[in-house]
Structures are given as C-alpha cells and as structure tokens.
Symmetry: D2
Subunit: 386 residues, 4 copies
C-alpha cells in the first residue's frame, strides 16, 4: 500500500497565509499528499488580524496551534518568540512526523520552523528564498536557505542567488510566487464586488470610494526600530494633507509594531482624518479586489512589489523595506518624507495602471509546488557546492 | 572618556573552550576590550567534561551561566536545547549589553547565540566559518555565516567560501584557527611532562606509556544518529584487537551521545580492555602534550585535522564527520570498519610524524582576532553581495 | 566582616509595584540589607502601564529584567507566561544568589517566582497570603503559601488562615498591607495637588473635576474569561447613563484583558462618552490623591478593599473578584448589572466618606517587613504542622 | 449522543507509572472514559529506566510525548524542567482538550501538570496528596493540593490532612494507593517466577538467590543535595561488608541524582562487590515478585512504606525521605550510618515477614478512581473552606 506524503506547512502570520493559500489548497486537493497545517505566532492573535479565522473559514483543517509570541517593545522579544517557537514546534513535529516541512518567506519567527525541522532531520522546503532586501529579514532569509533542502523561489534572480549561495541547482525551482496565483482571479474584475465597510467593519470615517481611493499598508522596519513612529507620521501627514478617500491597514507584529501602531493611534486622537478608514485586515482575495480598483497602494508591503506588479497597480513604495527586491514598472520608491510621499502619490494617480509583469510568476505556483513536494526525493543531508 | 568595547563570547562545549582559549586571553589582556564570558550548555555539565572548571581555573571571570541542555535520546532534544538557549541568551545579552557577540564554530547550539545576537541587532562575529564537512554541522555553520557580521576563518579555502556565500570581503579574515596558538607551545616538547593517570584520574587499566601509545576520541555523527553505537563498536573492536596502550576520551554531548557512551560502557562490561584507560577530559594544553608524544590519534575529532596537522601527528580519521575539511599530510581516512581501522593504525605508527602544516594558521590567531574586535566598525546591517 | 543579606524582590505588574513600594524603600534604606529588584512580566510593558518607568523614576536600581509575557487571547498564554518565567527567573536567581526571595500577592505569574525560589532551596517570603477571593487567584495564592517559608500577611483573618493551612505560627506575621503605608501620606490632603490631564495625558473628554468625580478601575476576572466583555459593558453603560465626571483606568494584563480592553474601545467608538477621560496608569501616590478627593471608586480593584478602607472612600465593588476579602465599612458589593451599578454609585455618593478602618494595617508594613527579612533565620526546609 | 469523558493522565517518571498503572487500565477499560496518556520528563529517558518502553509494551496508546528534562548538576535544572513542562503541557492540553487532568504524587515536575491544567481552567485530580515527608516534595505536594479540584488520597491520615488544608470534604476520597492493586497479584506467590538476570540484564556479579537476597533502592534526597554521595556510600559500605546476595536498583533522576550515581560508580570501580548485581529498572509486577521473595528491602523508596506494608516484607528505611509517612509494622528506620544499616538489615532478616497492613489500601484503587473520574461533577472553581 502506498502511503501519502505528509507535508507540514507552518503559517506564522496573516500575510504569509495569504501568500501560500494556493499552495495549501493544492496540497490539500492532491490525492497523494496529506496536509498538516500548523498555525503559530501572530497568525493566532487578534491584534494581528487573526489569520486563524480566515484559515478555518477557508476550510483548512488545523493539525496544531502554537502560541509563541512574547510581548515586548524591543528586539529581545523577537528573539524569545523564536526560541519558544523552536521548543514548541519540535514537539509538534515529533508528534506529527511529517515527511517534509514547509516554511514561508523570511519573518524572524520562521527561523523557528527551519531550525526545528532541520535539526530533527526532516527535509525542509523554503518558499521565497533568494530575494534581497537589506534588513534583518535578509539575514533570516539567507540563513534559512542554508538550512533548507528544497527551494521554491519566486523569480529568476532569486533562483540564481540561491544557487550562488552554494545550493545544488537541482533542488532550486523558480515556481513563481504563489501570491500571484490568487491575483489571477481578480485580473478581469471591473468593479469592487463588495462593500468593505459593511463586510470588514473597522473604524474611522467612511469616505466615498466611487471616485477612486488610496490604500495604505506600512509596516515597521526592524533595523530602524527607533524610527518607526517618525516614519509612520510622514505617511500620516501626507495622507492627511491629500484629503483623498483612503483605506488604511494596521501593521503586522514586529519589534517596532507598537511604535507604528502608537503613531497611528496618537495621530487619530489629534486629527480628524475625515477621509480615512482603518481596517485590521481583509481576506486575501478581497484585498486584491480592493487593490485592483484602487488608484494607488502606498507603504512598504511586498504586495506592492509582487501582486501589484502582476496587476499593474501603481505603488508608492516608502523606505528601505523592499530595497533590492525585483520591481515591475508599477512602483515608485520614496523616502520617509511627507513632501515626497505626497508628490509620488499624485504622480502615481496621474500615471495610472501599468502592463502586467510576469516577474513574480504566472499564476500556477501552488500546483507546481504541490507537485514538487510529491516528486522530490526525501533528503536532509547536504553539502555546499563549492 | 573612552569606553572599552564589551565583547561577549559564548562558550557552549569543552572543545570550543579549548579552541578559543587564546582568543579569550587576548581579549582579557587587551587594555581596550572588556571580556564578557558566557558559559552555557554542555560546558557546564559534568557528563561532558565540565569545561567550566577549567575556565575558572584558568582565571577567566564568568559573566553569566546558562543551563540549557535538554535531555533526550533523539534529535528533538537538540532542537529544544537551541530554543531554550535563545530564550536565555537574549536575556543575558539584554543585561550585559555587549558591543559584539562572538560565536564559535558550528555545534548545533551555537545557533542560539547567533540568533539571539543578530535578532537583537548586536554585531555578531563568527569564528571558524566557511569549512565543509557534509553533516548537520554544515547547515548550522553556513546559516550562522549568513547571520554573522564578521568572519574569522581558519584557512584560505574557508575565506574564499565565505566570500562566495555573499559576504563582503572586507569583513572576512583568515586569522588561522586559535587552537593552533596553543599547539605552538608544545611543538618543542620532548617528553610528556605529567602523569596523566595521576593528574586526571579516569577509569580502566593503566597501560605503560613509555613505549608509545594511541589516543582515541570519537564523537557520534548527528546525521547517522541510529548508527552511533555500531560505529563506536568498530573502533572498540579494533583497539581491543591491537592490544596497544591506549588513552580513550569520552565523547561530547550530541543527539547520539548516549549511543556512543552506551556502546563504550557495554563493551567495557563484556571485555577486559587491559590496555585501555578512559578519561573524561583534559586541559587543552595537556591534551596537546599527550598528542605530541602519542603514536597516533584515532577517531573523528577535528583536533586530528587541525592541531595534529600543525604538530605533524599521524591521525586515523574515521567516518564522515570531518568530510571535506582541509587536510594536512598527517591524516588517513577510513570507514567504520574494524579491519580498516586496525590496518590504518598500524600504517600510521610505521609512517610516524609528518612535517608541520600551516594550513590552519601559524599561532597568532588569538591576538589577531582580539585586535579585529577592537578595530572593526560596529555594524549589524548587511546585504548579500550579489 | 558581616555581609549584607541579599533580598531579591520580583515585581511583575504595575499594581504589585504600587503595593510593595514602601517595602522596597525600606529594604533599600536598611544598612544591613541589599535590595535585588527584579522587574518582570507586564511591569515591563507599555500596554500595561510600564511600571518600569516609575520604578526607575523612583530611583530603584534594577538587578534584572525578565520579559516573559506570552501573547494570546486565552488561558494557555497565562500558563505559558508562568513557564517562561520559571525558566528565566531560575537563571536570574542562579546569578544573583539572593539570601531570600520575596514574591507579592497572587497574580498567576507570581507562581513562577515561588517555584524558581523554592525549587532552588532559596528561602521564600510571600507578601499578602491567606486572603480569600474565590477565583483562580485563590488557587495560586494558597499554593504559594505552601511553597513559602515566611508569610507577611495583611490582616488577622489572613494570619489565622495561613496557620490553618499548616504553616508554623512563628513564620506568619500580620505586617499589615504595605499599600496602606503609602495611603497614610494622603490622609490629610484637602485638595487634589496636581492636574491629572496635564500630568498623565490619556485620551477622551476632560470633564471638570471641581464638583467631584468618579474613578473606575475594573479588571477581567480570569475564571469568567468569556464574559469579560459583557461585564465591562454593564459598567460602561452605567457610567454613560450617569453622565458624571469620570476618570477611567485601563485594566491589567490577564487572560481576558483583551476582552475588557476591546469592550472599552468598541464602546468608545460607538458613544461619545463626553464625561469620561481614560488613563493608562498613574503613580501610586497620585492615584491615592485622586481617590482621596473622589466621590466614589467603581470596579473590582483591590484598592477599593484596602486603601479605600483606610481612607474611608466609598467603593462600588462589582462582581466576584474581591469575594470574601475582608471589608471595611466603605464598600458596597453589586452584580454585573447596569441598574445595580448606577443605584450603588448614587447611594455611595450620598453616603460619603466612612471612618478610617485599620483592617489592612496601620502604615508601617514596609519597615516591619524589612526588619523581618533581616531577623528571620534563613531556612527552606519545612513540614506541615499537622 | 453521550460523549465519553476525556481523562488526560500525565506520567513523568518510572515509579509514577508503576504506581498508577491500574488506574490507567481502569480508565482505558471503562466504556464511558477516554484515556489520553501523556508521557513526559524522565519517563522518556533511558538513563531513568525508559518507562515509555513498559507503557508501550503494556498496550497503552500514547497521546503525546513531552521531552522536558533539562540537564544539570544543580537545583536550577529542576526549576527549569518544570518551566519547560508548563510551556509544553499547556500546548498539549490545548490540543487534547481533556475534561479532567490527573497528576500523580509529588515529584517536582508534576507541578508543571498542575499549573498548566489549573491555569487553563481544566479540572485537576491529584493522586496521593496529603502525605507528609518533610522535604521539598512536601512543598510540592501540598501546593498541588491547593491547585487541585479532586483529591484521591491513599490513607485516612492523608484524607484528614487534605481536608485540614481547606479542601471541601466532598472532593476528598480515600481510594487507597493504586500501587497496592498490583501488589494483590503477588500476595500468594510462593517462588520467584522468572530469572532476573536473564530477563533484565543489568551489570555486576550474579549472586545465587536461592537462599534469600537483599534488594536495595535508594534515591537522593533533594534538600540534602550536597550529601547524596556520602549517603549512598554508607549503604554501599554496609552491603559490601554484609556480603549477602544483593540486587541493587539505580536511582531516579533528581537534583542530586548524579551524586548518587557517581557514588555507586566510583565504589564499583574501587571494590569488587562480588555479591551485588545492578538493575536499571524492572516491570512493576516483576519488581513486586522480587520483593515478595526477598529477605529485606533497603533504601528510602516509598515502595518500602506502601507495597511492602501490604506484603509484610521487612524494610530498612534509611534517612529522611519517607519521614512522617504512615508506616505499617514492617519497617525499621535508620540514619545514614554503615553500622546502623548493617545492624538493621541483620535484625530485619531475623524478624522475617509481618502481617499484611491495609494502611495504604485494599487493592481496588484503580477501579475506584476511574469511577470517580466519571461521576464527579466537572468544576475548577473553588474556595478555601475557612
């Protein structure tokens, strides 16, 4: 009798879930694969958008939950969160006995998945290695590459870089980014198919969206921890000054998250912000619909670099968070400066949509990855190629 | 007023302590550096030779002790030990506030030092990156390279490899291996200056050493966890059959440590081993003296590859643990086979000493590294070079 | 030469700090005691009022900080926070080597202090054992009594109860509650000596306080975790309906803290609350001044039972949190019911101040406890008395 | 449809498993109960007799394994082991969602079970509370009583004591000790039904057992940590001097375990001990057979106090470990003195078997406890009775 391969995927944050949702579906639907979905860290917490609720609503069975986010206003908490993650995930893997563990991207706590799996001699697949950004994420990302046995990267540049890092070319695959899979579904959409205020609540004004609107999503940048409040204020001032209908998303958890959140909260107390509505989060597909019909995305989310490149949505990319990531033609980079942010938004609106760029994939990453997870030989022993 | 740079060095095992002892001395003696020595993991435990006792005897002040070895007969315990290490070391660094953290080599738990420091934006120096061995140590070693900001490597090949891994050449230094510093002190020794039985106790027979003797040091190999008992038995059979005076050192803690230890214990119960004496451990310098006057070192210790290359001592290197590490002319590689081990030992004795090889340094690594720790600009922000 | 006794006090929350501040001062000022102040858990976090800032401002040197609050919306996080606390505090005690460890009251995470100290054979003193409340705090409180070697209780009833629990009478002392020490300083105050809006910021309306005002402080009740939002809404509705000037304090961290906080936030978004100002926290002494000049304290804080009994301030005590704690004549108990809360507040205002009750001490607890910490024989070996 | 009650039992050591084996069987066989067996701590480790192997052999399904023993030669490790246990067990309970958690006796790490369950509002049953011994175990035991909701005690004295501790009489049951259940099966045995050397291996001499033999089982005493080596040497000298056939069992893990083990190992290296055979452990029932046919049990095991009272076997009980536990007429107490131990052994042999004492139960504890676990109302909210 042929046993199914057990694939444990560890999801630790709302954006990671959105990113790999089509991979999870493809594994779940595959007759020869058995999905073991582990939900951990901020993906379980209300403050960070409760990815768990969407996961359950989307019908994925959850094999284990791991609460490991340590509270704190400093980087120490990020380290500790990772330590607790290793402690707990090693027990989880010990009980689930997966054939392959999959870790996603480069958030600090994904290192816990990588260490637990690799130390336990479980073959480790890494989605989205090989990219370049220049902050702590980059240390984490490349370190995970050195722990991983299979690499499912999102662009040709990334593939080349992973191979240069000494990985065997035959375990490095440019699958495209699975987030693009989801974006294909809204490419033809001609109007926003839901009322975001009604469907997602949130707080603040409810500006009229019929004449176009801005979307803001700006996360703290870990290495600039002390500055996160100042950074968010530049964006807040710019949006406040432009007075355009704006939908704003709260940031992820990170060492500086409270700086960013506090900045937003304080600004709201002092100003009316009559054109801004705040959301905690949104289902991936609805968020893509929202972007598809927006005038411009502002902030430093990787969605601007990836999905928006595919969709051709104008993006004002602020600060260093996406530094050196491959860009499509849709993106304008600016500093943390109110004036520059305002000017860039106005220009982006004028410029309008770009052509779709295939730079991060063509929409079949989920199925491709599931197929590789079945076909690849199980191995955890590797050596550098040079 | 000029403040001293605070250098936290984390020592997690007896052999690591021996390796970096001259670095610790050089930091301690440097007028502009302040040594913060953290002793953790098996370095604190009797079962693994209590490095802590030697550290204290050598006069180093200990800034913090961290007990983090989780017991267990499987790889899960190695992962958990690392997780606990991160939890604890982040508190230690938070209190000590070092300017630079130094991590040594590639044992699994050294990852805890690397993650705690890099996540907390403390510049991280790595001693002995860039080497190639082909087991889990290699994943750990290269991952730490990707987290580290400065690289103090032990050979030209290692330097080249770290640079290929995408590190800026101006932060990669071939300092030589500090273990060689110590070896310089015994190079001219003409006879064993102490009685090992008297000075170090130990158990078993007390063979006469005046006509030459063998030294055995064989550690379990993590990726071959299940086989560690079988592996040690091949060596035990060979030594038992040769009937030569032999001094045997117990292995380090590792996922398979108990397999190896159990194998030795069981063999001792069944056989007389009238020519073998067992030691738990020995001060680094005394151990080098012992090697200097031995006929041959047998096992898989990196001492055979490094110090013995410098000293020209014949080495029978068993199995995969030192795979692909640079070799001097003193070393013979064999499989886990009683026959091959016996033949190699006999040949090695006949062949005798080799010329000293400078492949792992020329004896000034400690001073060189201390100097770099003072001169290097403090930085923790890096990006891959390609 | 006579060495000072080292007394480690672990403070894990803002209210605990307020409670034992005079003990800390008395230890610090004692020529034969050496204070080792450990600040941990929510006492370090902005969300819970950053006790650490007050501690530093009050001039206490901090021997160690321990971040151990695990985020989560369920009781699992409380258990995990305690587990991490043990891990970390045992390292802290191992390094500080205190002669006595002092733990305060009965918050869930204080169990970590009690276990680390008692397991390490360090004599453990417990402040405020022997009280009765009927929730999870009570399990914790009495369990800590069984781990502790000295008991500094706050009332005669508590003393009797600790002795009934099988403790030797000669290690049980009714020192009074140290929080009363602080209250003595405001007993004669005739007007509020500072402007709370100016000194403490906060958010919301700024009602005129000159004609009297209400103070609200209501924490979630752990065993009624699911209901914490409903509970807080009853109070919010009552305050909203009464339209009196009100100063409201955010709750502590607890398993249900987010339910309470979320309830308050949601209510603020829906209603104007034109008579309510919200504070995160306040220095202990200023808070007592605020109570001294208030019409009534509403909620379930132990301040209503203790300090307000001493000061004679009317208190509307809601729900089960203070169940079975000894009461002075100043307190009215009500259910979680808008109507009952409103009626009780109106009655309390009419009734006005009560006579001062000595039930929780007479103001010299800090000095008394410091003296005991010096005089008591060091011991950690005990047996039940029956 | 009626759902089965889920009963999680956490077993953390070999002797605990032996003690509650009949409880596990009774739960497993009960049509309305669902056994969730969690195996943790030293019960998983070879060094401490691998209870896990017996558990699996006995056919119990294991719901989760938790590795949480931290290595170390000091009491800090005991505290940390408990902290890690809480971290892990809370995740386990979160996933298993038991209706009741059962914790056994008073080993330090059982506190982890008690805290995780009680903090998570899961009703907690405690087997074997209310006893008195006078060491750290006693602090742990009574603290667990204050966290537990149901108490299944082993004697009338214990029942009375738990009620005095403020527990409601209607949740305190004298079920007898389940270890006695097992002892009933050997009561009629007339000769040893297996060859212990053949069945259990072990090391050392193989004395002839046909003319009677001694059994030794001596554990380190936590509060006398420093002295454990000296203590074991007194017993070793006595046994060495008596030269009677002796079967010796290695001690449990505890803070001082290594002192005891080291003492035994060192003694064996120095002396022949031609009449002593050493076992790591033995199945519970076989161990009882061994006792049933022995001349005398020597050491400080609670087996001497309980099972041997029921079986009437003479016991020489050494030191303080069983202080104040109820005794049958079979037991003689002595100090850690070679002379006294020798004399007591000689006297015990002469005296021979006592009458069976029902002091710790009459052999139906397992079934009684299983029945209570089904019938008791689920509750986790309690308050002290006075």
């Amino acid at each position: 009798m042929n046993q199914k391969r057990k694939i444990a995927v560890v999801v630790t944050a709302r954006p990671s879930y959105s990113r790999v949702k089509t991979v999870l579906s493809a594994i779940q639907q595959h007759p020869d694969l058995d999905l073991q979905l582990v939900v951990a860290a901020s993906a379980l917490l209300d403050r960070y958008g409760s990815a768990i609720n969407y996961i359950e609503k989307d019908g994925f069975a959850i094999a284990a939950k791991v609460f490991n986010v340590l509270e704190g206003e400093n980087l120490t908490a990020a380290a500790k969160t990772t330590g607790i993650g290793i402690l707990e995930l090693s027990t989880v893997f010990d009980n689930l006995k997966p054939d392959i563990v999959v870790t996603v991207a480069d958030r600090f706590e994904t290192m816990a998945t990588a260490i637990a799996a690799s130390y336990m001699n479980i073959p480790l697949a890494h989605i989205q290695g090989g990219e370049v950004t220049g902050n702590i994420d980059e240390k984490v990302r490349h370190a995970i590459t050195k722990l991983a046995d299979y690499h499912f990267v999102a662009s040709e540049n990334a593939k080349e870089r992973v191979i240069k890092l000494g990985e065997e070319p035959n375990v490095v695959f440019n699958t495209g980014c699975p987030s693009i899979d989801l974006a294909t579904t809204v490419l033809q959409s001609t109007s926003l198919p839901f009322d975001p205020y009604e469907k997602y609540g949130g707080v603040g004004a409810k500006p009229d969206l019929s004449e176009g609107y801005l979307v803001v999503m700006q996360h703290p940048v870990t290495t600039e921890y002390q500055d996160s409040r100042k950074h968010i204020e530049a964006t807040l001032e710019a949006i406040h000054s432009l007075k355009k209908p704006t939908l704003w998303f709260w940031p992820n958890v990170d060492a500086g998250a409270d700086g960013t959140s506090t900045g937003i909260r304080a600004f709201r107390e002092q100003h009316q912000l009559p054109n801004v509505h705040f959301f905690k989060n949104m289902e991936g597909k609805d968020f893509l619909q929202l972007l598809q019909h927006s005038s411009c995305l502002i902030g430093n989310s990787s969605v601007g670099i990836r999905e928006c490149a595919f969709l051709g949505i104008p993006v004002v990319n602020i600060g260093s968070r996406q530094n050196r990531r491959d860009r499509g033609g849709n993106s304008i980079d600016v500093d943390y400066s109110q004036e520059k942010i305002e000017a860039a938004i106005l220009f982006a609106i004028t410029k309008g949509k770009s052509l779709s760029s295939p730079i991060y994939g063509n929409g079949n990453a989920g199925v491709y990855i599931a197929d590789l997870l079945l076909q690849l030989p199980l191995q955890f022993h590797k050596t550098i190629t040079y």
